[in-house]
Symmetry: C2
């Protein structure tokens, strides 16, 4: 099961795995795919430690790093003299305090240094620090998850001989990203977890494939091998999956969240601005419902201002949920795509890779039977 991209990236399967968890990244790379570590949750020092650990695990096999560089953020984030948190209006802090009271969430600060750091890192300056660290490791790809990769990032990656990938949700963005230097486009449909546009994978991928002359990976709605085969049929050279790793054994997903993910159906996600300030698909929970629909909600702040507020609050909510607070459990949410409805058991990440490869081969065999004129049922 090899596409042109396999030779280019030195992998056996055209399967890219996005995860915030180093264990998943290493496991997928070691199983013949390509692990990509989401760096936004880490400080540059922490990222260095994570990548050093991965280097020790993968024995030279390829992996990559993903940073979040939004095209446009609130001006306050650019001003290093201002704490992000100080730019959060009173009304929004009060709403979070109201949610804590309403749902009986105890303990801790609503915001934190961690949250402040996350907000800082989704700026061009913040991302640059992570890129510097990443390029000191033998990475095989650096990805920019929002907006065109900054010229500085592209030139540093080029110097280091590292291809740059960019996630896009429209054909226009794909063209712009390639013009900005992207070597690989990840066309991500609206069904994906995290920051997404409104166009579905089925519709987006063929249009992006036709519009750009670099390889395209499909993302969004891909958690089994039938969906991977569909992505290749659409013209993608490979797939980029995120949600499917959240319920693997290796994932550091908090137990309460993992339980909610395993129980959720595909209708239980929502594209909401309540976590980062930009529309991002996640598990529908009391958090997203209150921010998006409660009459007293002040509405989410623009990125990155919503982040110190939400990351701090959700960290506290997570701790309370793990202690068993029922209100905190209702509030708990996590970035995940509509494929969450397919995730119903915990498996090793390696097993997910092998299952997808087997299902992909079976799907292609079934299609072959159809084209050769033989009648075959959906499983025949």
């Amino acid at each position: 099961m090899r596409t042109a991209i396999c030779d280019r990236f030195g992998i056996d399967l055209p399967l890219f795995a996005f995860s915030h968890c180093r264990d998943v990244v290493a496991a997928v790379t070691n199983a013949g795919g390509f692990g990509v570590l989401g760096a936004v949750a880490y400080s540059p020092e922490q990222l260095d430690a994570e990548l050093t650990w991965i280097d020790g695990q993968v024995g030279g096999r390829p992996y990559g790093v993903d940073v979040l560089v939004p095209g446009r953020t609130d001006a306050s984030a650019a001003d290093r003299g201002v704490r992000l948190l100080d730019a959060v209006p009173e009304r929004h802090r009060d709403f979070v305090a109201h949610l804590f009271a309403k749902y009986g969430v105890g303990g801790g600060e609503a915001v934190s240094a961690f949250a402040e750091g996350v907000g800082r890192r989704v700026t061009p300056e913040g991302a640059a620090g992570l890129v510097d660290v990443a390029l000191e490791h033998p990475i095989g790809l650096i990805a920019s998850a929002l907006g065109p990769p900054p010229p500085e990032m592209v030139s540093r990656a080029r110097q280091a001989g590292v291809p740059v990938a960019a996630l896009v949700g429209t054909v226009e963005h794909a063209r712009r990203q390639v013009a900005a230097g992207a070597d690989l486009i990840v066309a991500q449909g609206s069904e994906a977890g995290g920051h997404t546009g409104e166009i579905s994978t089925m519709v987006l991928v063929p249009q992006v494939v036709d519009a750009v002359d670099v390889p395209v990976l499909a993302a969004g709605g891909i958690a089994d091998g039938r969906q991977a085969a569909a992505a290749l049929a659409l013209g993608a050279e490979g797939v980029w999956c995120g949600s499917v790793w959240l319920t693997t054994q290796e994932a550091e997903t908090p137990p309460v969240v993992k339980e909610k993910l395993l129980a959720a159906g595909s209708a239980d996600t929502v594209r909401s601005r309540s976590r980062t300030g930009k529309p991002a698909r996640q598990l529908r929970s009391a958090w997203t419902e209150e921010w998006d629909n409660a009459p007293e909600s002040p509405g989410p702040l623009p990125m990155p201002l919503q982040m110190p507020l939400s990351e701090g609050a959700l960290a506290r909510i997570g701790r309370a949920a793990e202690r068993g607070d029922p209100g905190a459990r209702e509030l708990a949410t996590y970035f995940v795509g509509q494929v969450v409805g397919q995730l119903d058991q915990v498996k090793p990440a390696r097993q997910v890779v092998y299952d997808m490869a087997g299902q992909l081969a079976a799907a292609v065999e079934r299609l072959q039977a159809v084209t050769s004129g033989a009648s075959g049922g959906p499983h025949g």
Copy 2:
């Protein structure tokens, strides 16, 4: 290119074409696919005339009819003594009058006998009249586009030996529809035109295939052969397309709407309640924007009450747009899926069928090359 469904339905290609236009239905059937006429716009007498015309064109080749039977509608629709129009609140009529004034739409009534009739036909009683007429013709399928097929419809179809298809947007609905007697499930993703749910085709289809033991067609996001191949990879036995026919030579789509469709991108549709009262994907226009976002909008009425209002108004808007009124042109809209971004030329319906078949075969060949270990680019 045959699946099990081809033998069952007596067709050469597993391609079902939904259209309100008899010429498209006949052309697709004659090209080896399966045309399905949307009946909601017709009175029973008109439907009889349309089907008689189709019978004369297709020489016994198979075609079907689609009716709209919502599971739940406003109670007023059930009361035949009340004109639907009389149940439309003053505030909603005033809003339409305001839109006519604001956009300079001249001439005619805001509502009409036609519009009243359409509203009536999306009720179980109204649909029954259409079903009676349809079953007097040699149809090969009767489809119910919203909600489980009524028991009366299923038993009449069974007696006539005509399979019943049902469109669904969730796994739960698929199970319910099969329990209600559906012989074929059309799993329709949120990217589709017309009434849709929120789950994408990529995510929905494999789950529905796994959940029911009847054949599944994929709908939503399918306008070329790569997308058809992807649908088969997902486990569907065939595809159900609607939008792609709107810009064919045969389609009766009004010229202004056709122009708007050819110019639109995939981001130019919206899922809005402004036309029928239930969420339906259509071209984003001043009509959808005003109903959904204007501060003075009273919000759409529930189905079927919104229909006499919107169908009457949009008929008048259509006439004014064809006369060249720029405001009416802004307001004009039409049900269409996100694939509208791929529709950029007018082709005969027959040609669309042949192109899709060719692209499907090429996509499967490309996948074969991948599984056999050869490296192949997206077009290789």
